[in-house]
């Protein structure tokens, strides 16, 4: 019953976010600030993780292909498919749920605890629109970060393959171009947009409706990470079934 209540309250919150919009000049500056904080502030960790994940995928694939009958180009093919279909959109989103999600929950939760949200409401400001809407819009830039993750992941795979002696550069690149289906990229971006909305709204919900003090802010951040990850994993399954099944 509590879960049903929470789900209902989440959807009411999402509805409220789009009501009584804040004045555009203020909203514009809030959106730009959030893009800087949520997207640009995360590029470093996204690039770092994607590079090494791409490298590890290449090494693991190469080590598991022992038969001389299997062409080395398959390593590039497997790396491309793994990175584009799963590692860039899903794995990066889980990382973002931790980094960005906990930031969103703790910043909104701290505002709640220190009565700053009450102060907004008393002034007649729609606090959900003021706080959550810029985050949702900023997260629309997230597919660009995932595109970068795809590129860096494949680049990491190529570096590991070519310089680690697992796959010659030419073979790896040949594999990258093998049987390329453009819809796979579209599928990855559709997933990314859905995950971006989840990453912006579920942590906001946990911050906005938290009760208690500083300790509860920490607990809310952890809970929000768990639930954001769970929802991303479930939606990943559903979207894959719908789009590729």
């Amino acid at each position: 019953m509590n879960y049903l209540e929470a789900i209902g309250r989440y959807f009411i919150m999402v509805w409220e976010v789009f009501k009584k919009p804040t004045k555009w000049p203020i909203m514009r500056s809030l959106i730009l600030k959030e893009i800087d904080e949520l997207i640009f502030g995360s590029l470093g960790i996204i690039i770092f993780i994607s590079f090494f994940i791409g490298g590890v995928v290449t090494i693991q694939t190469a080590l598991n292909l022992n038969s001389p009958l299997i062409p080395k180009s398959l390593i590039g093919f497997a790396t491309r498919q793994s990175v584009i279909l799963e590692f860039a959109p899903t794995f990066t989103s889980i990382i973002m749920a931790g980094k960005v999600g906990s930031y969103i929950t703790s910043s909104i939760g701290t505002m709640k605890v220190t009565e700053q949200i009450d102060a907004l409401e008393v002034m007649g400001v729609n606090s959900l629109n003021y706080l959550v809407f810029p985050k949702i819009i900023a997260m629309l830039m997230y597919p660009f970060a995932v595109a970068l993750a795809m590129y860096v992941g494949i680049f990491g795979g190529w570096i590991a393959g070519a310089f680690g002696g697992y796959a010659p550069s030419g073979e790896f690149v040949k594999g990258l171009q093998l049987d390329f289906i453009p819809f796979h990229v579209t599928y990855a971006f559709i997933k990314t947009v859905v995950f971006a909305f989840v990453i912006a709204t579920i942590p906001s919900y946990h911050g906005f409706y938290m009760k208690g003090g500083a300790l509860e802010v920490g607990k809310a951040s952890t809970t929000s990470f768990v639930w954001t990850s769970v929802v991303i994993i479930i939606l990943n399954y559903i979207l894959t079934q719908l789009l590729l099944g």
Partner: protein, 255 residues
Amino acid sequence: MIQVEDIHKSFGETHVLKGITTNFEKGKTNLVIGQSGSGKTVFLKCLLGLFEPEKGKICYNGQFYSELSISERRDLRQEMGMVFQGSALFDSMTVEGNVMFPLEMFTKQTRAEMKDRVDFVLERVNLVDAHKKFPSEISGGMKKRVAIARAIVMNPKYLFCDEPNSGLDPKTAILIDNLIQEITKEYNITTVINTHDMNSVMEIGEKIIFLKNGYKEWEGTNKEIFKTDNEAVTNFVYSSELFKKVRQMYIEERN
């Protein structure tokens, strides 16, 4: 003027406000006192519209809050100023940004007009050199002044203060009390203050209501509170030895 008629508010099984009826007059500092857990903050949040009472009515200058549409309620809230217990300043904004915030949100003033207004109210609360400082860089007393400046920047008709001098030294607390009273008179605002501070009660309590376990136990002025025989009020107000002696002296002098 704010008229409160028989308001009740519960949270689950806990009945916090149990039928409070009172009036808060314009141009007066109205104080709500009572022990922790007596329902003061819930009462104030009902007045602010942050909590909806289950029963009873709150009327602002003839407008019943429960009969207003959502947009009318938001318009009414723009006529309210609130000083929170912890000041509730926006951490990411400077002092100037905090005070300018309501003007940016709800007026069509130019930047220069807003700046003039902010300078005026900051000067009014005796803060002239703190414009570019962040809340984390100023003292508790200064935060309260900024919160008061932010509350009055839109020329509100109603000013609400939740324990405005909690955590302040006695001298700063008196300055804050006097400032609130001066502003109330100057702008003819209806001011409601939640407080535990007995100095505030004695100094600025033009009207006092005493809450106990969610009921209005007593109502009067700071002159009448000296004379009252209500045991709950005297136990609360004269809980310190100093105030007991002051009261004793007052009674002896009167006799």
